[in-house]
């Protein structure tokens, strides 16, 4: 413990005890007036960080730890009133979750795959639309401010209100979507079901992209402001067309922004609970059975909170691996770019 730095002297007043133990250092008590001053100066930054640290612990880490503990328990309806009495199940919940030959594991795997495909498509579309819109909005023209504000509306609306509106629009009998596609344009032979059956995936993807692309638009727009105009002017003098400018200047310059943007969009979309829950309720159609609702159903609806926690921990691990991998790859790219 004692390394001779001023910090070690904070130990007696550290977070564990809160106050210097009265009798422990009686020999030093004579020099008391000078020492506490030194202590506090060295320790002050840490003391000031302490409230934030405690809050972080309470808000993030403790619930996570409790979730991990729950995942090792057989926490069914018989025990939820008094968690302490729930028997330990060891790795039982995990074994059940990843046993892909058994129905529960199979359903989880199916839901996971649906979520992966959904997330990849949604992030790609959000990014594509957002970037295209941001580039189109780059040059100033009359009404640009208005359009920018308009584009951000889906992002600013409360999720529930926005998605419930989509539910009405997707209704089979009276919905706007079928009215336009079937009644007006006669594109479909008969009205389509959007909220049940296989088309629910399309409905979910539509709402997700509608909700997500303004964020990509916002971030890319901010990123574009940092690209010096001279680059474009020089490129134009060299005879580069619009497409070449985008490919050679805009996209490479946006790379750091995109790296963060894609990661954030991926995490948000993968974990999104509100959109599928409001669209489909507690029992999502198989084609749109996203993992967040699936886990919710596994824990809340079947009242097996241990299994639900185990699935959540697995999801957490997967996202950690993806995030870690992403950061590793992108930071390596950055380092080599710096060289």
């Amino acid at each position: 413990m004692s390394t001779g730095t001023p910090m070690t002297t904070t130990v007696p007043t550290g977070p564990g005890t809160g106050a210097p133990p009265a009798g422990a250092h009686t020999p030093g008590a004579a020099r008391g007036p000078r020492r506490p001053g030194r202590i506090r100066r060295g320790a002050l930054p840490y003391l000031l960080l302490l409230p934030a640290l405690v809050l972080e612990l309470l808000v993030h880490l403790v619930p996570m730890a409790i979730g991990v503990v729950m995942s090792f328990k057989q926490l069914t309806q018989l025990y939820i009133r008094d968690w302490g009495t729930a028997p330990w199940s060891g790795l039982g919940n995990y074994r059940m979750s990843v046993d892909f030959d058994a129905p529960v594991g199979q359903a989880l795997l199916h839901s996971f795959l649906v979520t992966v495909v959904f997330t990849l498509l949604s992030v790609a579309l959000c990014w594509l639309i957002g970037t295209a819109a941001a580039i189109c909005m780059q040059d100033s023209f009359r009404g640009r401010g208005l359009l920018r504000a308009l584009f951000l509306v889906p992002y600013a609306l409360p999720v529930y209100a926005a998605v419930i509106t989509w539910v009405f629009m997707f209704q089979h009998d009276n919905g706007l979507v079928n009215h336009v596609l079937h009644d007006q344009l006669h594109l479909t032979g008969r009205p389509t079901f959007w909220l049940i059956g296989d088309n629910s995936f399309v409905a979910l993807l539509t709402v997700s992209v509608w909700k997500g692309w303004p964020f990509a638009f916002l971030i890319v727009m901010a990123g574009l402001q940092n690209i010096p105009g001279e680059l474009y002017e020089a490129a134009a003098l060299d005879g580069a067309g619009l497409w070449q400018q985008i490919r050679r200047i805009t996209l490479p310059s946006l790379r750091p922004v995109n790296q963060v943007l894609v990661l954030v969009l991926f995490l948000w979309t993968f974990n999104d609970f509100n959109t599928p829950y409001v669209l489909f309720g507690r029992a999502a159609p198989e084609a749109a059975d996203l993992i967040s609702v699936h886990i919710y159903q596994a824990s809340f609806v079947t009242w097996n909170f241990g299994a639900g926690s185990a699935m959540s921990v697995l999801l957490l691990l997967f996202l950690l691996v993806v995030t870690g991998g992403h950061l590793l790859l992108t930071s390596r790219g950055r380092r080599s770019a710096d060289v």
Partner: protein, 439 residues
């Protein structure tokens, strides 16, 4: 120096305060019930009227009356059905809940297994006037057999066939169908006149369960073995589910659009005269509030396979209803029991069941002439002679979710024009059973 010291002391104090409040918060605050004073009770009511506001208007004057009688103030919260079970589970897990609450009677055994509700033993029943005040069919849905009930019956309801007099008359149908074959035959005549035949809520898991449970009974089958184990995919249940979903896929009496209904759209369709018939529990008050007068529709028993409704395979309704329960963690047990006694008193039973067009589960209140209208008579007869309680097993809530979802998926198949065969029904039900927790 002094300011630095002050900052340090402040930081430590703040941290300790945060930690202390987080650790101690569970017992001192939170939840709905303010247990410090035995002069108050928190009551979670289920949504019985056409809206939450309607419920508040119905209940508040009665709660004021109770306060005048007993001096206990009841804090009312009407919880929508979509939230009620989750709220109860959260309250159970945290120990912070209301003092008195309404539960769907089919949840009784599941919630009983959590141990969150006060068991109604002889002593507790004595406090509300004794077990004998309640009719047997209602008591049959208050918990697992052989255990002290987890709740007390509050409102009783039953399914009936609501039929639009004008549409049936226009189609040349003299009386409402009494068997499924008649209903399908009448359906052809109604569709020929461009009207929809029978409303259903294909994406509402509970509605699906209520109907396939009755169809299973009519096929002499059950979703649970006598010792309470899931047995979802036996030949009888497969035939039952196939017949119910077949009303859409084969018989074309349920419109395909109803496959995605889950917000009581089928009731609005019926009230607006788009659909000729509707299978619903105690719908009168709901229909009135949607502008359909009592003389525009008739009420008949739900069809059976053949003959007339009765016990055994002639069952034509579940025992539907609401129970009132006391949360075991209440700090005002006496007040809670007094409140339950008040709510199940003859006077209140008459007032409340009138308002919700349900039937009082209390014998003496049920005899009141106010419940002698033709619609009430059908419901009362159904409850007395041809209704059966959903399985009172701890897994009931999971059964509603898994089998309800299976039926929803089958309706989605039917809506997409795919055939619903015995094989596809069996596969869906087998999958549902495999989702059940292993016991």
């Amino acid at each position: 120096m002094r300011s630095i010291r002050a900052a340090a002391v402040g930081a430590v104090t703040l941290s300790l305060a945060l930690a202390a409040s987080a650790c101690g918060g569970g017992t001192s605050t939170g939840g709905g019930s303010d247990d410090s004073s035995p002069r108050t009770l928190t009551y979670w009511a289920s949504n019985q009227g056409a809206s939450i506001e309607v419920d508040k208007k119905v209940l508040q004057p009665e709660l004021d009356k109770f306060q005048k009688q007993s001096g206990v103030k009841v804090k009312l919260e009407v919880v929508p059905w979509s939230d009620l079970l989750n709220r109860i589970l959260t309250a159970t897990t945290s120990g912070q809940g209301p003092d008195v609450l309404n539960i769907g009677n089919t949840w009784s055994a599941s919630l009983q297994a959590t141990g969150a509700l006060l068991p109604w033993d002889a002593r507790n029943f004595a406090a509300v006037g004794g077990r004998n005040r309640f009719v047997d069919s209602a008591l049959g849905s208050t918990g697992a057999p052989g255990k002290d009930p987890a709740a007390v019956p509050l409102y009783s309801m039953a399914y009936a066939l609501y039929w639009n007099k004008k549409i049936l008359a226009d189609a040349g149908i003299a009386k409402p169908p009494a068997t499924w074959d008649e209903l399908v035959a009448d359906g052809a005549k109604i569709r020929a006149r461009g009207k929809q035949v029978l409303g259903a809520e294909g994406s509402n898991l509970s509605e699906n369960i209520h109907h396939v449970f009755v169809f299973a009974r009519q096929h002499g089958a059950s979703f649970f073995t006598p010792d309470g184990r899931p047995d979802f995919a036996n030949p009888g249940t497969v035939a039952a589910v196939q017949q119910y979903v077949g009303l859409m896929s084969k018989d074309k009496v349920i419109p395909q659009g109803n496959a995605e209904y889950a917000q009581n759209q089928s009731v609005s369709d019926f009230a607006k005269g788009r659909t000729a018939m509707l299978l619903w529990q105690s719908a009168s008050a709901n229909l009135t509030s949607q502008g359909m007068g009592g003389d525009a529709y008739g009420v008949a028993p739900v069809p059976v396979q053949s003959g007339t409704p009765g016990p055994g395979t002639q069952v034509d309704s579940m025992v539907a209803g609401i129970n009132v329960a006391v949360f075991k963690n209440t700090h005002n047990l006496n007040g809670a029991r007094r409140f339950v006694k008040f709510m199940t008193s003859d006077t209140e039973q008459k007032i409340l069941n009138r308002a919700y067009s349900s039937i009082p589960p209390v014998r003496s209140a049920q005899q009141d002439p106010a419940f002698g209208a033709p619609a009430d008579t059908v419901l009362r007869n159904t409850l007395a002679t041809s209704s059966a309680a959903l399985p009172q097993v701890a897994d009931e809530s999971q059964f509603e979710t898994t089998v309800g979802t299976a039926v929803k998926e089958l309706f989605a198949d039917a809506a997409a024009g795919r055939a619903v065969t015995a094989a596809s029904v069996k596969a869906a039900l087998t999958k549902a059973q495999q989702q059940m927790p292993a016991t």
